[in-house]
Subunit: 319 residues, 2 copies
DNA sequence: ATGAAAGCGCTAACAC
DNA sequence: GTGTTAGCGCTTTCAT
């Protein structure tokens, strides 16, 4: 039950703790001594205490990642990118899911701070920004994902471009009356709608009709209200894709003939179902975010990625 | 840049570090002193160092969770259950994704051990069991999910029952010739097939025809080979659901008329697509796993959950 | 009610 | 090369 410490190893090998420490960290030690120490460590089942190491270093080597919604494919790919970079720099990753609850977000940021993470990657509301700023001042690099608040590192998507990409594709497919389901109060989604509107108007098409929802429950009614006057439904967030798609198919509507459908973020079922999407380079975004944590640039980096369209036919065929 | 320590707070409040510590942990302190200390902590922006606390306690309060595949809905629900219980006991959760790579699994278990996690919940291959046992001996409660190796806590599904549930439903739907796509070398899936076989034979139906695959790439061919002689395809793991479904629909087959389809684990798109599944109570399993970590029962607990069938028509309609 | 001081497991100067 | 020793930030007796 009592943990094996460096002292036990030292005693077993007949050397001092300092020597053991040197062996473990690749300092200058005689071959024979090193061998004895390794053997002792092995036979005692020694496992170094990362906590004590960190306390000495002033911070741990762990990278903290706060995710709003693990069930979203975007975040999964983001995490994959982060994991990749973190593994390369030998940093454990501490992932926390906040389930989009503001109180949990705040609590998780605080927890990560207290764990003295080496850096923090945050996907959260504006409310977390001030906490992040305080951490940054204390020397913990914080990267905000999907938004780009001033004074902090950020990795985000060109959301306006995403909207314009949607508009271009819809125009190519000969769609003209566009209904939009969008999340309430989401700056990201507001920009996407702005881009969409701009792109449509620019092409001489009517402005999109927008309806805002808070969560899944409201989607069916929202979609219903859009169907009267539109031939296409656009969804500005991957999170609502399932609900919107369900609302459509539940009414017996077939894509693209009865209704056009275009949404954000690629996901595994999209290709089987033939759903066209505007995708974010999530994996790359994750990599960059992690790199910012590792490299700690002195001035806040604001990295913006470009979206891409993946046409699969749910809006009809292009030009 | 220099972190505020308990000493700074003490100096600022004109008391000793011991007193600050007592205030922070709710010891016996005079109201007025406590107030001064809180104020000092506040104004200095003090954030307690969880690392040093843990080193003193001998272990951290963090619960480690090692997941094979974050993209699987089963694990997402499992995590939700874990998070819920962990939050209630004020334990941060450290999540690690291993992407089904044995080397990463081993590395993550080791990392968690070195972080001195309070307990560990593992979804991994047999290869990790010995590491887990060693940790358990050192006083770190380890819970294995989805398998139940001797000597360790475990939370798993009655896989044979899952197979039998499948057989029963298929029989109800009048299916008789069943092809099975299953993962190679997965004890869990072997049991499911056993249950399926037993259930079918018991009802006087022919044995299922099984084909083993390693990963997604092989699924299409596997499914193709099953279609000649069968009217139904069963998939024994949620991980392959997309690929199997794609292989089916890509051939223009409609469910349930052209082909029956039954798979494991519920997922968001299943209801929209009308896919019948045998589901695991993932959320509850997560809760129990976390509870085992928190409660640290002295003798290994082996908890087995029962699967449920969710019929949605992809095999036709039941009796 | 409060302070002084020892010590948690480990690292890093500084001696020898 | 290797040992001694002083901390890292915090908690916890033991005095006062």
């Amino acid at each position: 039950m009592k943990r094996v410490t460096i002292g036990d190893v030292a005693a077993h090998a007949g050397v001092s703790t300092a020597t053991v420490s040197r062996v473990l960290n690749g300092g200058l030690v005689a071959e024979s001594t090193a061998a004895r120490v390794w053997e002792a460590a092995e036979s005692l089942g020694y496992s170094p205490n990362a906590l004590t190491r960190s306390i000495f270093a002033g911070r741990s080597s762990t990278i903290g990642v706060i995710i709003r919604d693990l069930s979203s494919p975007f975040y999964l790919d983001l995490i994959r990118g982060i994991d990749e970079v973190a593994a390369a720099s030998d940093s454990p990753v501490m992932l926390a899911n906040t389930y989009r609850r503001a109180d949990r977000e705040a609590a998780q940021v605080r927890a990560m701070d207290q764990q003295r993470v080496r850096g923090l990657i945050i996907t959260a509301d504006e409310t977390a920004d001030s906490q992040a700023r305080r951490m940054a001042e204390n020397g913990t690099p914080c990267v905000i994902v999907a938004r780009n608040p001033p004074g902090l590192h950020s990795v985000s998507l060109d959301d306006v471009a995403a909207g314009e990409l949607m508009a271009a594709h819809l125009a190519d497919c000969g769609r003209s009356r566009v209904g939009v389901v969008s999340g309430r109060n989401r700056p990201t989604q507001v920009k996407r709608v702005t881009g969409l509107r701009h792109g449509l108007v620019e092409r001489g098409l009517p402005e999109p009709e927008e309806v805002l929802v808070e969560n899944e429950d409201e989607v069916d009614a929202a979609v219903g209200s859009l169907l009267h006057r539109n031939d296409t439904v656009v969804c500005t967030t991957g999170r609502l894709t399932v609900s919107v798609h369900t609302a459509l198919t539940a009414r017996g509507l077939k894509m693209p003939d009865d209704i056009g459908f275009l949404t954000m973020d690629d996901f595994p079922w999209a290709s089987t179902l033939g759903i066209s999407v505007v995708a974010q380079p999530a994996y790359e975004m994750g990599r960059r975010a992690a790199e910012l944590v590792v490299e700690e640039p002195a001035v806040p980096a604001r990295i913006v990625f470009q979206p891409t369209l993946i046409a699969r036919g749910s809006c009809g065929s292009g030009v």
